[in-house]
Each structure stands twice: as C-alpha cells, then as structure tokens.
C-alpha cells in the first residue's frame, strides 16, 4: 500500500475546487438510565458492572424506551427548528461487532423523530451561516472494545480483546446536516463553528454535558470536492470520531488538501472512512465504505411506535431556554466586547464559566480575563476542557475580588490559581499557606527601594540622567527582594520619586 500524503496548498485547492461537507454529530444524552433498560449511565464502576439482561442482549430480554431520552430528542429537534414526527419507529441496524451485544443497533432509519431544521452559526467575523439539518434521531451506544497486545491499541496485531458493555445502551442522538454547500474557503471554519454552536445548544438544553473530551459528543466529517461550477457532488470521505473543535477544523482542512491532491493527479477519491490523527492533523484510510455495506434496516418489532402528542411537543417548545446565539448576543452587549472576542470565548467553551463567575460576584472583564487567559492556558497545557479544571467559578470570583481590593497583584493571583488547581484549597487558603499577599506596607517597601538603589548605583545614575526606561531593572530587584509580593506599579512610582525623575 502506498501512502499518499502529498497535499495541495489550501489556497490552490480552493482555487480549483468547491468543498461540500456533511457533518454527523453523536451526542450522548445525560439521562440517568440507559435508552432501553434501567441500568445507570454513570460510568464510574468496574467493567460490565452496569449491565442487565437487556443491555447485554441476553436471550429473551426486551427493550423499553426511556421517555426522558425521547423528550431530550424532541427538545434538540425543536431547538434545531426541526419538524417533530407525529409517529415514528425505531429500526434495527444489523451488523456484527463483538461490542454490540445484540449484533444490531437499535436506531432509527427512515422515520427519524426530528427532521428538516437548521442551525445558524456565527463565524469569527460575525457573518452568520445557516447550516441545514437533515434529521436528528435516537439510537443506542455500543460497548467498548479494548484490544490488548497490539502496538497502538488497534485490533491489528492484538493478542486478545476485552469487552466492556457499560456503555452499551447509553442513549445517543445523531444529528445529521444536509450537504453544506457554498462555504468555500470557510468550510473548515463553518464546520468548527457548527459543532461549537451545537455543543452550546445541547448544553443550554441541559440534555447532555456535551463534553467532547469525554466522548459525550463526537463528530464525523464527510467531505467531498467538486470542480468549481459543477453541480454534482464528488465522492466523499468520512473522517470518523473527530473529537475537538480544533480537530474538526483541521480534519476538514486536511481532507480538502488531500482530495485536491488526489484529483489534481488524475486519481479518484475512494469512498471510505478515515481516521484523524491529533498529532499532525492528518487522516489515514480506515475501511472502504462502498454501497455493498447493507445494514438490513427494518422496523424494531420489540418496540411500539413513538407518537409524541402535539400538546407535549408544544409544552416542550414553550419550555425551551434562551438559545445560545441569542444569549451570546445579549452577553456580548452586556459585557461590551467584540464579535471576535465572543467567538474566542465560545471556542474556548468559556461562556458558562464566565457567566457563573460573574454570578459569583466578579465583574465581567476580570472573569473573562482569568478564564480566557491563565485558566485557558492551564487547560490547554493539560489537554482538558476549561470546565474540567479543578477550580470553581466562586474561586475565580474570589481571586478577582482579592485583586480588585489590592490584596493580590496579577502575578500573585496567578500563583493563587495555580495553588487552587493543585488542590491546595480555596484561594484564601492558598494565600494563607503560601503567604501570598501584596506588600503594601510603605515602610518595608521604601526600605527595599533604598536598598535596590544603593545596590545598583550605576543604573540609578542612568535613570537620573534621563534613561527612565532603565527603571525596570530596579523594579525587578525590588520585586525579587519582596518575593513578588509588592505592587509593581507602586514600586516604580517610589523609585522614580526617590530619584527625583518624572516619567514624562
């Protein structure tokens, strides 16, 4: 097998071709129990501890639909401006795989619970792009296979595999877009913005935490290219399980460049699934997915049709929360920030934490500053989402309060945050334990300033001579002497005062 990794530059690819995308997002619902049995969905115990005859597919066991699962699906459908089916059925998707207990997945086929909707997504420059929704349907998750003995955890080369069915039967909603056309060079950005917007929506509906890092939300990126001006779609590739916003954008971008390279060299795109690699943003071939794959769908005879009454649907519609984009526009005005800043906050998944921090008493600017700065950096370093950091909005609000009161400067505040993240306690406890307080005692500060001037006579002379910029070195010396616990601005004032120089 030859691995073609030659890529066409993104600009060249877009000069010749027009990308068409289809995005399939799976959302794990946050219901207490599984979709078709009473097993708990809280995955924290040992392998196969959360199973029963139904989710293990034991002979004779039967499914019963989780009503909250249906309700969640309807809520998602309504929030996506979909029509809600008056009558629909589950269907069996038949294929063999050891982690699927019944060797069919209970899903929906030609009768989805929600269909024909749209989601408006806002790009970084404020442009709104409408993504049409084909359908949202209910299904169940599979179990988990762990392949042991192979090099990469893949089945190839493994000596044996372990099966854990705790995840089997967890409710999933699959949301499928219609072909996304006309995004042009912004296609990868649209893909990312769509997934981000959908995630916000799911969270606002409170039907799932939608944590991509935990696999609660997973995206498959279908992409094809067609020569500019052509109507018919090209052959698509399906990049599976792209599990972060950044990866969604990178995967789309990579596939555009790869497809272009194949097409430019006279080759044909193979309809196949592809694996995305976080390390270098590339994709590699998975399994060939031609039309020979036949799931032999048929209506699930063990379940009765789902026929949500119109009254119920309207009740759910009336109870929908403020939708994320509306809310974001409101917050953007309240916070007085730009579209671009808001987009960055959205991408960092920081809206919730910031709002919670403001609710805990902080002003919006500092809440934003800490979450988007120091905390985002920590999250990034640890490769987790912001919400997963072991710090609460109340903690952040307290840090902001201490800074506002002058008890901490920014540098000390960062140390406090670091302490909280390391599990040293609340901000106040960290301040106490680490002895982090701004030295505001003028006497002690003046002594340190005098010492610094005396110890750095040459620099002091330079400053006296007009090279005010050199004051940094003296400030640094004072800060060092006070172990960073001085207010740097005040130190600078004191030094200049002592040397009889003014900053102008």
């Amino acid at each position: 097998m030859t691995v073609t990794t030659d890529l066409v530059s993104y600009e060249d690819a877009l000069a010749t071709y027009d990308p068409v995308m289809g995005l399939e997002v799976h959302v794990e619902l946050g219901t207490k129990t599984k979709m078709f049995c009473g097993c708990s969905t809280t995955l924290k115990q040992g392998a196969n501890s959360q199973t029963c005859p139904t989710c293990l597919g034991l002979p004779g066991a039967l499914p019963v639909v989780n009503e909250i699962g249906v309700e969640s699906a309807i809520k998602i459908g309504l929030a996506l401006h979909c029509e809600i089916a008056e009558w629909c059925r589950f269907a069996r998707k038949n294929y063999f795989y050891p982690d699927m207990p019944k060797n069919f997945q209970t899903s929906q086929y030609d009768e989805p619970i929600a269909f024909n909707g749209y989601l408006d997504v806002q790009l970084e420059d404020g442009e709104v792009f409408r993504v049409e929704i084909e359908r949202a349907h209910m299904e169940e998750d599979t179990g988990k296979s762990t392949h042991v003995g192979g090099a990469t955890g893949r089945i190839h080369g493994a000596s044996h595999s372990l099966l854990d069915y705790n995840r089997a039967g967890i409710p999933l909603i699959e949301i499928v877009t219609k072909p996304i056309e006309g995004a042009g060079e912004r296609a990868p950005e649209v893909a990312k913005a769509y997934v981000a917007e959908l995630r916000e929506l799911i969270k606002a509906l409170d039907v799932s935490e939608a944590r991509m890092d935990k696999g609660q939300m997973r995206c498959d990126v279908n992409l094809s290219l067609r020569p500019k001006g052509q109507k018919e779609f090209g052959t698509r590739s399906e990049t599976k399980n792209v599990n972060s916003l950044r990866s969604v954008e990178r995967a789309a971008r990579f596939e555009i460049q790869r497809h272009a390279a194949v097409l430019n060299s006279g080759g044909t795109i193979i309809q196949e699934t592809r694996h995305f690699h976080e390390e270098d943003g590339s994709t590699t071939s998975g399994r060939i997915k031609d039309n020979a794959e036949d799931y032999r769908y048929f209506p699930e005879p063990d379940l009765v049709p789902v026929a949500p009454s119109r009254e119920w649907v309207e009740e759910l519609r009336a109870g929908l929360p403020e939708l994320p984009r509306v809310r974001r526009n409101r917050l953007r005005e309240e916070w007085g920030i730009s579209e671009h800043d808001m987009q960055s906050i959205l991408n960092a998944d920081a809206i919730g934490p910031i709002v919670a921090t403001v609710n805990a008493g902080a002003d919006a600017a500092s809440a934003r500053k800490w979450w988007m700065g120091e905390l985002a950096r920590h999250a990034n370093e640890q490769g987790v989402e912001l919400g997963a950091l072991p710090i609460t909005p109340e903690h952040v609000a307290r840090v902001a309060e201490l800074v506002a009161k002058g008890d901490l400067n920014d540098k000390l505040a960062r140390q406090v945050i670091e302490g909280v993240l390391k599990g040293e306690g609340t901000p106040d406890e960290v301040v106490e334990k680490r002895g982090l307080k701004v030295v505001s005692d003028e006497g002690a500060l003046t002594a340190a300033v005098d010492e610094a001037i005396a110890g750095n006579a040459a620099i002091a002379d330079k400053i006296r001579g007009g090279k005010v910029a050199a004051v940094g070195a003296l400030v640094g010396a004072v800060m060092k002497a006070t172990r960073g616990q001085a207010d740097a601005a005040r130190v600078k004032e004191l030094i200049l005062e002592k040397l009889g120089v003014s900053e102008g």
């Binding site: 002979p59 004779g60 039967l62 038949n94």
Partner: protein, 497 residues
C-alpha cells in the same frame, strides 16, 4: 383413589387446597411418571427434581400455616425450553445455548413461581421454535404418545407430548405460526395462542418478535384457562404487552355455551392437502356446533391463501436479526477459540456448528429478504399482506363471533417423513398462521380420531384480539358435548405407554 397423574390441574388444585393430597405427593407422582416413560417419549430436556420438590414442600408448608394459596398452588407445570429460568438451563432446543444457565427469570416464569405452581422442568422443542415436528431439536425428537414413531407436532412437541403422556397436567408453549395449536391437535390435547401482547414475551427467547406469543397447554379447556389467567397480563418489561385487563377466560371456561353464537367457517381452510378424516371430523364438529345452538356462517377470506408466503418472509427476517446475538462472545457455545483465530472466525465457526439446518435456512432466507434492493419486494410486500389479512379478519368478525377450522390439515405424520421436505413441513401450519399474522387469539382442542389412522384431530377456534374468553366459552361447550358423546375424554383412547 384415582391415579394422581390422570387428574386435571383443577382437580389437583382443589385436592391440595382441601388437604386430600399434598403438593409433594402430586409432584412425586409426576416425577415418577417422567422417570417411567420419558426415556421413550423424550418430552423433557431438563427435569428439576430437587427444585420441584422444594417448591412442593413450600406449598404444603404454606397451606399448613393457613396462608392463602393461589388457584394453581402445588400444580406441576413444565415449561417449553424457550422461557428463561434462573439457575436452570435454557437451550431453546439448540446446541448454541447448550449449558447456558440464565441469570434471570422470564416474566411468565416469575408469575408461575408467584402463583406457587411447581415447575417440573423444561420441555423439548424444535430448535428456536422453528419447525412443526420437534425433529429439529438438537437433543433428539420427541415421540407422540399416541404412536411413538410419529411426531408430536412442533415446535412445542415436548409440551404437548408431556400432557398426553401424563407427565405433567399443565405445560407452557409458544406459538409463532402454530407451535402451541398444531402439537395440541396431533396429541389430542388443548392449546391456546392468546392475543398477541396478552402474555409477556420478556424472557421468552425470540424467534419472530412480532409473531411470538406464549400460551397455555393442558388436557382440558378449564385447565388451559386457569394457566392462561396465571401467566397473562400487562408487563412493563415488554413494550408490546397490552395494557388492559386479562379477558375473563376462567369464567368463560366454567360457562361454556355456543347458544346464539355466530360461527364462521372459512372457505379457504379446506381442499387440497387436507386429510379426509380430518375434514370429516371437522364437518362433524360444525354439525355439533349447530346442534348446540350456533349459527354457521360461510366466510370467504381469499388473502388467507397468501398467509404462508407472507409468514415465511416475516418470520425468517425477524429471526435473522434476533439470532444475530448468538456470536460466542457472551454466552453459550464457543467453537475455535484456540488463540489463533479472530473474533469474526470464532463467531462464524460457532454459528456453523451451533445452529441446525432449519435455523440456518431461515437465517439465510431472512437475511436475503431484508437486503437492500429486495426489502420492498419481500419484507415490505409481506407486511402489506399481513395488513390485508388483519383487515379480512376484522371484516369477518363483524359477521361472526368466532371462526372454526381444522387446526392442521393432517394427523401426526411419521418421524422422518417430512424431515427433508421443508415445504411439506411448512404446510402443517396452513390454518394456524393467519392468526399469528393478525395477532388475534385461537385455540385447538380435540374433536375426535381420524377414521383412517385412529389419530387425534384438532378443532381450531379463532376469536378477535382480546376476546380470548370466547375461545374458552365455545371450547368448553364443544369439549363437554364431545366428552358426553364419547363417554370419556379423548386421551383415554391413547395406548398406554
């Protein structure tokens, strides 16, 4: 004292309640009978001697303490080996589940335990309930107690033979295309397929989910009603179970009458393939009904002729999916797991070795019928036929209260005769299948012996959905009239084993 094993379930229950018999005596008598004859009959796949005696002792203790006993307390029952029984093997007549001990009870099993019946064991059946002769069991065929060289019907041949051989007064069956009624017909016993959704399917190993229905098998109409009442009712664990009161079947069985009833005779249920003696006994039954005060109405139901074809698309389609779970990963047989083969290979080898020919035939048929490009022509069309048959039944039941027909076109055929001719085998269910497709209720009860071979003939009574009580009302009247005419129950004429 009359022989315990010849007593009806109703008699046993009343003798235990009155103290005339203990549950342990009754159980021991049946265990002894099983020990004496089952080597010849092969009705049982598993006899739970210890469990049965323990249950019997518990019933006797309960009675001694003056606790309230259910209407079937202490009565022995054998279950078709398709119902899961916690701690007791459940094979579904297949090698692929050999040695599997279910960790849970079927709803029906639970209900029986709660009713204080004594579970004797599990009865033989065609593998996965696919067949009309019990020859497809992986554990050897069951003999018909009327003639051990003949089939006892199927798939529930074990349950029917156990009754006819007096090994149990009550047994449980499942009926997907006739698997309760056809065995009842050829063994001279009573079998009822309740309305679809009337008895929970939870814990009943699925063959064809939209057709399968558990039901009672007995030697008398009243006994069947008592068992029916014990197992029926809504079950939250089965989404297709009907949330409505159980039809008053016991009351109906105690008050048999056809006076003033309109009884339908369907033109399509006779003709080519029907044995002369079967037709003769059926015609006599119709005359009997007339003499008992029923009005006979001729019915034309042309779509019934399509029932068999539709059934052999729907049932295999559903079975191809239902049986996919037998993949050697979680339970049952595992073949070829020597460390060199892939999971896929182990699954394939296990299914190759574990399933019998008929099961494989139907899985292949169903896989094909559901395939893209064929779905509309096969599965889709079959579902349309099903709708038409349901409508034809509905129209018929506007004119009549019940419909009667022969249960099966012939009497018990010799073991081996149709084993290599699936189409001939499938014809045994000609009269029973339409009811499964429509989901309504039906009963088979004995209506005499065919003159040419001296073997039992079954009369089928069909009632609308959730009107199961009509089966018992009519059945009890017919049974009483026949017993009076013959001077004894038909089974008395069976040779002793």
């Amino acid at each position: 004292m009359t022989d315990i094993i010849k007593l009806t379930a109703a008699e046993i229950a009343s003798k235990i309640a009155s103290g005339e018999l203990t549950a342990v005596e009754v159980t021991e008598a049946h265990l002894a009978r099983i020990g004496a004859v089952d080597e010849k009959v092969n009705a049982f796949l598993y006899v739970d001697r210890e469990g049965a005696l323990a249950q019997a002792r518990a019933v006797d203790e309960k009675r001694a303490k003056g606790e309230k006993l259910g209407p079937l307390a202490g009565v022995p029952v054998a279950l078709k080996d398709i119902f899961t029984t916690e701690g007791i093997p459940t094979t579904v007549g297949s090698k692929i589940l050999e040695g599997w001990i279910p960790p849970y009870d079927a709803t029906v099993t639970k209900k029986l335990k709660a009713a204080d019946v004594v579970i004797l064991g599990k009865t033989n059946m065609d593998e996965f309930a696919m067949g009309s002769s019990t020859e497809n069991s992986a554990y050897g065929p069951t003999g018909n107690p009327w003639d051990l060289t003949r089939i006892p019907g199927g798939s529930g041949g074990g349950s029917a033979a156990a009754l006819a051989a007096y090994e149990a007064p009550l047994t449980l069956g499942t009926d997907t295309g006739g698997s309760i009624r056809q065995p009842a017909a050829v063994t001279g016993t009573v079998g009822v397929k309740p309305t679809y959704g009337g008895v929970s399917r939870y814990g009943m190993v699925a063959f064809s989910s939209s057709l399968d229905q558990g039901g009672p098998c007995a030697r008398t109409v009243l006994d069947a009603a008592l068992l029916h009442e014990a197992i029926a009712g809504h079950d939250e664990l089965d989404s297709t179970s009907i949330d409505a009161p159980v039809p008053p079947v016991v009351e109906a069985a105690r008050n048999g009458s056809v006076q003033g009833m309109r009884v339908g005779v369907v033109k399509q249920f006779r003709g080519e393939g029907y044995q002369a003696g079967v037709v003769q006994r059926f015609d006599e039954s119709v005359e009997l009904l007339k003499s008992l005060g029923a009005e006979i109405v001729e019915l034309d139901c042309p779509t019934f002729d399509l029932a068999l074809s539709a059934y052999y698309l729907i049932a295999p389609s559903e079975c191809s999916s239902n049986l996919a779970r037998f993949d050697a990963m979680r339970y049952g047989l595992r073949v070829g797991d020597d460390g060199t083969k892939s999971a896929e290979d182990v699954t394939a080898l296990t299914r190759e070795a574990g399933f019998g020919d008929e099961v494989k035939r139907r899985i292949i048929l169903g896989t094909y019928a559901l395939s893209s490009g064929y779905y509309d022509a096969y599965y889709g069309s079959a579902q349309k036929v099903r709708t038409l048959i349901t409508r034809e039944f509905e129209a018929a039941f506007e004119q009549v209260d019940v419909i009667v027909s022969p249960t099966t076109p012939t009497t018990a055929f010799p073991i081996g005769e149709r084993a290599d001719d699936p189409m001939a085998m499938y014809l045994a269910d000609l009269c029973t299948i339409p009811t499964n497709l429509a989901g309504n209720s039906a009963m088979s009860l004995p209506c005499g012996l065919a003159p040419e071979d001296g073997l039992p003939v079954g009369l089928q009574i069909i009632a609308p959905a959730m009107k199961d009580d009509r089966l018992y009302k009519v059945g009890a009247a017919v049974e009483a009239a026949f017993v009076e005419k013959w001077g004894h129950p038909l089974l008395e004429e069976a040779p002793s084993l």
